[in-house]
């Protein structure tokens, strides 16, 4: 795996995300949670996943389920870079009649395995897919991308019970742990800051890493425990790469004006190289 090329990929995705958000105009976009997710998606789509846009329905392909459906900026840009979606698709972002709206709509030919947007839905679906994959002796892996705020949905923990019971080592749960949700800091809203302990208590294998470090993400994916679902708590920064967005809950979903857009682009181009 070429670490430098993944970092460059992440930078392109971040720049394209800003352009998509800017072009969305008054519709705005989920910038904060999109930018925090960039390196996770760059690592997956930059080489980890066994996928091919030429054979999108291959039953052995790896599966990505977007639990945090609002992370579309990172998702669509990754799918674009991986050759699943076109520039026209990207340009249609948040346009009326487009498939590429603010939350993903299932279209396997475009690499979108699952419609999402309602938080707490994807993990149990991933558990079902992982059970079925094991039963049919498939070597595919199921990656579920969750937000830390999403973990407040009780359905997440129902799914964890089952994932541990079935020893789903073919299931990888990424938590984009940017610690901020729509109304502010998660610890202020829900009173926790220890997702590692919670997932471990439910019987998962847990790693906690820097979610913007390509090296750390690749290392976390390399080690595999063979009788537990794998949870990677990717500690990230909401709005990563743009100073006025970083750790600011007001950029969970917001409109990017021209001067902000230009400032953001300049910051990412000049100062942020990933890792």
């Amino acid at each position: 795996m070429d670490i430098t090329s993944i970092k460059e990929l992440a930078k392109r995705m971040r720049l394209l995300s800003l352009t998509m958000a800017y072009k969305a105009g008054k519709n705005g976009a989920h910038l904060g949670g999109g930018l925090s997710l960039i390196e996770i998606m760059a690592v997956l789509y930059g080489g980890v996943l066994n996928i091919n846009p030429e054979t999108p329905i291959n039953p052995e392909r790896d599966i990505v389920l977007m639990g945090k459906g609002h992370g579309v900026l990172a998702y669509y840009t990754a799918l674009y870079e991986a050759g699943f979606i076109s520039k026209e698709d990207i340009d249609s972002f948040e346009k009326e009649g487009s498939l590429f709206i603010g939350h993903p709509v299932k279209d396997i030919s475009k690499g979108i395995e699952y419609s999402s947007g309602s938080l707490g839905m994807a993990l149990s679906v991933g558990v079902g897919m992982a059970i079925s994959a094991k039963n049919r002796k498939s070597h595919r892996k199921i990656y579920v991308i969750m937000g830390d705020g999403e973990c407040q949905e009780g359905s997440s923990w129902e799914a964890c019970f089952l994932a541990a019971k079935y020893q789903l080592d073919n299931l990888v749960i990424f938590v984009d742990n940017n610690r901020i949700q729509s109304d502010g800091f998660s610890k202020d809203i829900c009173g926790y800051d220890n997702l590692e302990e919670k997932f471990a208590a439910f019987g998962c294998e847990v790693k906690s890493i820097n979610g913007h470090s390509v090296e750390a993400l690749l290392n976390a994916l390399e080690y595999h425990n063979y009788n537990k679902p794998n949870v990677i708590i990717a500690n990230t920064i909401k709005g990563k790469g743009v100073s006025f967005m970083e750790n600011n809950y007001k950029w969970h979903h917001s409109v990017l004006n021209k001067s902000q857009y230009e400032t953001a682009l300049a910051e990412v181009r000049s100062t942020y190289a990933g890792g």
């Binding site: 699952y114 419609s115 839905m121 149990s124 679906v125 991933g126 558990v127 059970i131 129902e158």
Partner: protein, 325 residues
């Protein structure tokens, strides 16, 4: 699929809808279809799934008391080119995880079949927490969902085979217990969306579903003695509704819909919605649960108290047809 003969019909009637589907049909279906899974939320034995549990341990999944996980897991299994059959009490199945059903089965058409066990008042002394008289309304409103309420155990047997044959989400409402009432005594054609005329009379038509069909046949016998001749239609599919048969009776004077369900959102509502655009349509009396939580008791007691037994239905039909109200 077994032959529908008198011996099987008697056996299935003794087992009831739940026992027939879970204990007889599903083991047969799983034997024929290696991609059929069955899931439950801690109701495997209660549902009569013992044969499934014993014979197909890899394709039987008990998620524990976790209905959101139940639906999500079933959808994930279905998305991997399988068919998933899910069962738990109808009240929990349709309400606790409503959004999971809407999102995975409705919106994304996961090939999942839902068996709403112990629907209506069939769970008796468990009380209102366990009754389901809103389930048809809830399932019917979801796009892409098929909703079936079989009249008896034989129809339940046919319904699960039809549901498996259909590629998409189906809700089958099971609302009887063991030693249940028989409607069918011989084989007949069951087709999703196609209702069945059971009796023909010229004074009024009753359209019923589920366990109410058997009650309505008895009501018709009571009414016969009073010189009133009624038709009884078994509208086993609430969605899609058999619009053809409704159109064919649109010039009748009075129709009744009878269901072990709220009068809001169920069969009666579906029929009323169909006729709402007609310039002339029959006077329509909806018989069901009148927007309240019922006083608990055994199923037959609740039916009687709420005038949903054969006598109560016959009285109501008589009142209307004879012009009392």
């Amino acid at each position: 699929m077994q032959e529908v003969n008198k011996r099987n019909i008697r056996t299935w009637s003794m087992l009831g809808q739940r026992g027939t589907i879970c204990g007889v049909a599903l083991p047969e279906i799983m034997a024929d279809n290696s991609r059929c899974y069955v899931l439950t939320a801690d109701l495997g034995h209660t549902s009569g799934l013992d044969r499934v549990i014993e014979q197909y341990p890899n394709r039987f999944i008990n998620v524990g008391i976790a209905e959101q996980s139940l639906i999500g897991t079933a959808a994930g299994i279905a998305f991997d080119d399988n068919v998933a059959v899910v069962t738990t009490f109808a009240t929990f199945l349709t309400m606790r995880c409503f959004e999971q059903i809407r999102h995975n089965l409705g919106y994304q058409r996961a090939n999942v079949k839902l068996l709403g066990a112990m629907s209506g008042f069939s769970i008796g002394m468990f009380g209102n927490t366990h009754y389901a008289y809103e389930d048809i309304a809830l399932m019917r409103v979801i796009p892409n969902m098929i909703v079936i309420s079989p009249a008896d155990a034989t129809e339940a047997y046919k319904a699960i085979y039809a549901a498996i044959e259909f590629d998409g989400p189906v809700y089958i409402r099971l609302s009887d217990g063991v030693n249940s009432q028989m409607v069918y005594e011989s084989d007949y054609e069951f087709k999703i969306g196609k209702s069945v005329y059971l009796l023909r009379g010229n004074n009024a038509t009753i359209i019923a579903c589920g366990g109410m069909v058997a009650e309505c046949i008895k009501s018709a016998q009571i009414l016969e003695e009073k010189g009133i001749h009624i038709s009884v239609i078994n509208m086993h599919s609430i969605k899609p509704l058999d619009e053809e048969i409704l159109k064919s009776i649109s010039d009748e004077e009075i129709i009744f819909t009878v269901e072990e369900h709220s009068i809001i959102g169920g069969l009666g509502s579906a029929v009323a919605e169909y006729y709402s655009s007609f310039e002339h349509s029959p006077r329509h009396i909806r018989i069901g649960v009148y927007d309240k939580f019922v006083a608990p008791g055994e199923q037959q007691y609740i039916k009687k108290v709420n005038r949903l037994d054969s006598v109560g239905i016959a009285e109501r039909v008589f009142e209307v047809v004879s012009g009392d109200r």
